[in-house]
């Protein structure tokens, strides 16, 4: 039997999620309100889930006959990891320092960029974010646990 690849695993995951939605929705709301002669909140999602499960299974079966596999690179997962690290660091040191740290570390450690270029890119991003989002639009970015512990005691 052919080994399952991304083209089959993703539809299978979608089908599994739909099954959870289908069971949760029907258990909580039911399908049709016979008293009011109207659909329940789970009416449309249940129909969609049944359709999705069926189409996903058909797609998995038909794609097994086809050739071709998705290729992955280590670098692609590096940026996902970096994104997750920025989210984690935001809770600790705040969003803007976390993003600043990400830009510097990424350019220095992953791209091996010279310091001069790193500083130019950092300055451009800082000007854009602080100038537009912080000063003009007045967005208050999260400051993180450490900042809060020091300044908001």
């Amino acid at each position: 039997m052919k080994k399952l690849g991304t083209r089959q695993i993703v539809p299978l995951i979608i089908a599994a999620i739909c099954t959870v939605f289908l069971i949760t929705g029907l258990n909580k709301f039911g399908f049709w309100n016979a008293k009011k002669l109207s659909p329940t909140p789970a009416f449309v999602p249940s129909i969609i889930c049944v359709l999705l499960i069926a189409i996903c299974l058909i797609t998995v079966i038909t794609s097994l006959k086809k050739e071709g596999k998705a290729k992955y690179s280590k670098d692609e997962f590096l940026i996902i990891l970096a994104g997750a690290a920025v989210v984690g660091c935001t809770y600790l040191i705040g969003m803007l320092p976390a993003l600043g740290l990400f830009v510097i570390l990424w350019l220095r450690l992953v791209e091996h960029t010279p310091w001069k270029t790193v500083l130019i890119i950092f300055a451009i991003i800082a000007a854009l974010v602080i100038g537009v989002f912080v000063l003009w639009l007045g967005v208050r970015f999260p400051t993180g646990l450490i900042y809060n512990a020091i300044f908001n005691q």
Partner: protein, 505 residues
């Protein structure tokens, strides 16, 4: 003729130095804010609304109109240059805009978007000028059943038309439904599919979701090609260098005019707005002959969606001004702005405040032209973004994605949604699942579900309501044709095949 005279009166109102300057200022600010991913026209208008306090009422309303229109232009910039849509109507622009920019024609891609936006906007304004009240009444004929069948048609067309594999296109279309069903039920207000989470009770925020699914997933994909440079024009890019040639103009005009007209009518329908218009404009273009396949950087693709979304922006003024019903979220902000200045949109607006009403319509015409001229003049500077090596763009776009996601949701929940949808979008690409149909249904399914359930309630659970009116029957027939079109096409090909071969022999 009365309308034309009134419009000329409106132009006379606008043509003072102060009001033209205000219009220009509104256009520039709107362009900048509209181009920022994650802000878009709704937030852009809301954020810039306080600026109008500094002006006299007519000038303030002229500025509002200019802000609104140029916001629509700005959304295409980051969509074309960075593959990050500035707002939801620009999602479709990424499909052809970014590939065209990558083919070494970023100036042409931006100009195509801007010229098409202008054509769509002007067409929409002309239709609005002469048919405004009539269009508003037509929009009101759309009851729950008509809106339901219209939405079915919209979603069916996009699912089947996008991507080579209709089954995978349908999967993507339906996932949008499932994701949109998370949160409060639109009719009863009961939480559903939130699995006990307070954040999920508010649903999945659209803008962070789009930024992730389109923008952050693109950053992940860029990792593979970060050492391949983008083909840039060898000479320094000037406004003249980014002008469209005769063949490109010929390719741009028909889709822009078609989508401009269709977009205006879609914009009139309450709740449908520019996003639905841009999706439908693109889907409609799929049915016509294109010199290059859509999705590969075709002029026709950019023209169709950009003209449709700007025309819809104009169309939404019909119910807003004539009946006081905003067609979109941005329309609601504008309505708030108008009311702030003592204007009460409705049937009496044109009789009681003709100077304001026609001044606003005239300012929209001028804002359209001013936004085009300003956008054209900054194209050479904007295009320089593409000369930046991809490896440097990765941290820049990632930062914009994070900041944009936070700015719109004002919570880390939005940022987490952005990252997760980016990862999901990346695996979707690997599994050959198109992302765009999912985004379309995510926007349209709440409108669809709400209307469908209302239709069922009003008919006592009977399906007859969906075939009870000529409009909804027509939409259902078109849907059926769309679903069957691949089979019909294959059958026609089979019949024609032997005949064509015989003729050749």
């Amino acid at each position: 003729m009365d309308n034309l005279q009134n419009l000329l009166m409106g132009f006379a109102t606008v043509f003072t130095l102060e009001r033209l300057a205000v219009c220009g200022l509104g256009a520039i600010l709107g362009l900048i804010v509209g181009a920022m991913p994650g802000i878009g026209s709704l937030a852009g208008c809301a954020l810039l609304l306080p600026l109008t306090y500094k002006f006299e009422p007519t000038a303030a309303i002229i500025m509002l109109g200019a802000l609104y229109y140029s916001n629509m232009y700005g959304g295409a910039f980051s969509a074309i240059l960075l593959n990050v849509p500035g707002d939801s109507p620009a999602v479709m622009t990424t499909l052809d805009g970014y590939p065209m920019a990558k083919k070494g024609q970023p100036g042409q891609a931006l100009l195509t978007a801007n010229v098409s936006s202008c054509i769509g906007g002007i067409l929409g304004m002309i239709i609005l000028t002469f048919m405004g009240p009539m269009l508003a009444n037509f929009g009101l004929k759309f009851g729950p059943a008509e809106m339901t069948t219209l939405m079915i048609m919209a979603m069916t067309s996009i699912g089947w038309l996008l991507g080579d594999d209709p089954l995978r296109g349908t999967i993507s279309t339906l996932i949008g439904f499932v994701l949109a069903s998370i949160g409060m039920d639109t009719l009863t207000g009961a939480p559903r599919y939130n699995f006990g989470s307070l954040h999920l009770m508010g649903g999945i925020p659209f803008v962070p979701f789009v930024i992730g699914a389109v923008g952050f997933s693109q950053v992940i994909s860029l990792m593979m090609e970060r050492y391949n440079g983008v083909e840039m024009p060898k000479d320094k890019l000037t406004i003249r260098g980014s002008l469209l040639n005769r063949s490109q103009i010929k390719r741009l005009l028909p889709p822009a005019i078609r989508s401009g007209i269709a977009g205006t009518f879609i914009g009139v329908l309450p709740g449908s707005g520019a996003t639905a218009a841009s999706f439908l404009g693109y889907a409609m273009q799929k049915g016509f002959k294109n010199k290059e396949p859509l999705g590969s950087g075709a002029v026709e693709g950019i023209a169709a969606c950009e003209a449709a979304n700007n025309a819809a922006a104009a169309g939404s003024f019909a119910p807003l001004l004539a009946l006081g019903i905003p067609g979109s979220g941005t329309g609601a902000v504008l309505l708030g702005g108008l009311m702030m200045w003592g204007l009460n949109p409705g049937p009496l607006l044109f009789t009681n405040n003709p100077e304001f009403a026609w001044g606003l319509i005239a300012s929209l015409f001028i804002a359209n032209i001013v936004a085009l001229l300003i956008a054209m003049s900054i194209i050479p500077n904007l295009v320089k973004i593409l000369a930046v090596p991809v490896k440097y763009m990765i941290p820049i776009i990632t930062t914009i994605c994070f900041v944009g996601a936070y700015a719109t949701s004002q919570s880390m929940y939005g940022v987490i949604v952005m990252v997760l949808s980016g990862i999901a979008g990346f695996f979707f690409k690997k599994a050959d699942l198109p992302v765009a149909p999912m985004l379309l249904t995510f926007v349209l399914s709440p409108i669809f579900e709400q209307n469908m359930r209302r239709a069922f309630i009003s008919s006592g659970g009977s399906l007859d309501i969906f075939v009870g009116s000529p409009l909804s029957t027509a939409f259902l027939v078109i849907t059926l044709l769309l679903v069957c079109s691949p089979a019909i096409k294959a059958a026609v090909k089979k019949i024609r095949g032997p005949k064509a071969a015989q003729t050749k022999e």
